[in-house]
Symmetry: C2
Subunit: 142 residues, 2 copies
DNA sequence: GACATATGTATCGTGTACGATTTAATCTTG
DNA sequence: CAAGATTAAATCGTACACGATACATATGTC
């Protein structure tokens, strides 16, 4: 009986390409002292600041058990601040600090660097992104 | 200055879709007591048994620091066996045990289940896989 | 308005990932 | 054939992911 080897599996293509992408980001993020998930979190906040842990989790598709330590590490580094929502004390709102906002300028060149490394033009990148997202959205969110 | 939010980033599409895919595998693998990386490792061995740690690492794109603990866990469960290569004692060869081989039959239905969950036909899945792999192979392997 | 229920975060344990280093075995070159 | 270089795994430390659970605050119902 035959089993498809990993190189032929769609899931493995996703798995290995996502890892490769993180490795591609690594040298660009190292000077900023950020990991890739930390960069994603900051990107979310650079687009829209002062959001709750839950809202960030919905955007990044992460739960509090992953997000809370991630946020705390960046808080320790002074890039953001956590604050209980006054109206609903269950919620924690995450705010960028001045250094956290300033880091956006240092990271501004990164998207272009990544795009260049893919060797693909913007149209192809956008199309591929949308096909991958279409696949994701067809898979039940648990 | 504007920063692309994560939902618009190609890297995030890969990141979140790879995670979603693992979540899709989870209920299928749980009855076998396997994690997704463990399933990948076994799939590699089901296709070609008795390979070295290095050869498995090249196929799965993982280094020994990830692979060694992964292999040891499956060895503890009695699904495989590690053995130093007689010709080159630096190398460790990984062999399936009888229970490890038997598990292939229990996992045989999984690829079809996953394919069904994507709601895509085989041609589209293959095409998307190849586009993703083409992207991966354009990114420098470190 | 007390009480069961639901919601938002946090905590804990296990299992990947991976950079850096270590150890042991093999290869190279003089 | 001995000393240094190279290679294959393993080890260590840090940082995600995530299931399960805990805990505090809100909300709904009577």
């Amino acid at each position: 009986m035959s089993t498809l080897p990993p190189p032929d599996m769609l899931c493995f293509a996703l798995y290995s390409t996502a890892h490769r992408m993180q490795q591609t980001y690594k040298p660009l993020l190292a000077p900023l002292g950020l990991t890739y998930p930390q960069y994603l979190l900051l990107s979310a906040l650079w687009s829209e600041d002062s959001r709750t842990v839950g809202a960030l989790g919905r955007e990044l598709q992460l739960e509090s058990n992953t997000l809370t330590p991630l946020i705390k590490r960046l808080e320790t580094r002074g890039l953001l601040r956590r604050e209980r929502d006054a109206a609903d004390e269950r919620q924690v709102r995450v705010h960028l600090t001045e250094p956290g906002r300033a880091l956006q300028a240092d990271a501004a060149h990164i998207p272009d660097c990544i795009a260049r490394e893919t060797g693909m033009d913007m149209d192809d990148l956008t199309r591929l992104r949308d096909e991958i997202l279409a696949l994701r959205d067809r898979l039940d969110p648990a």
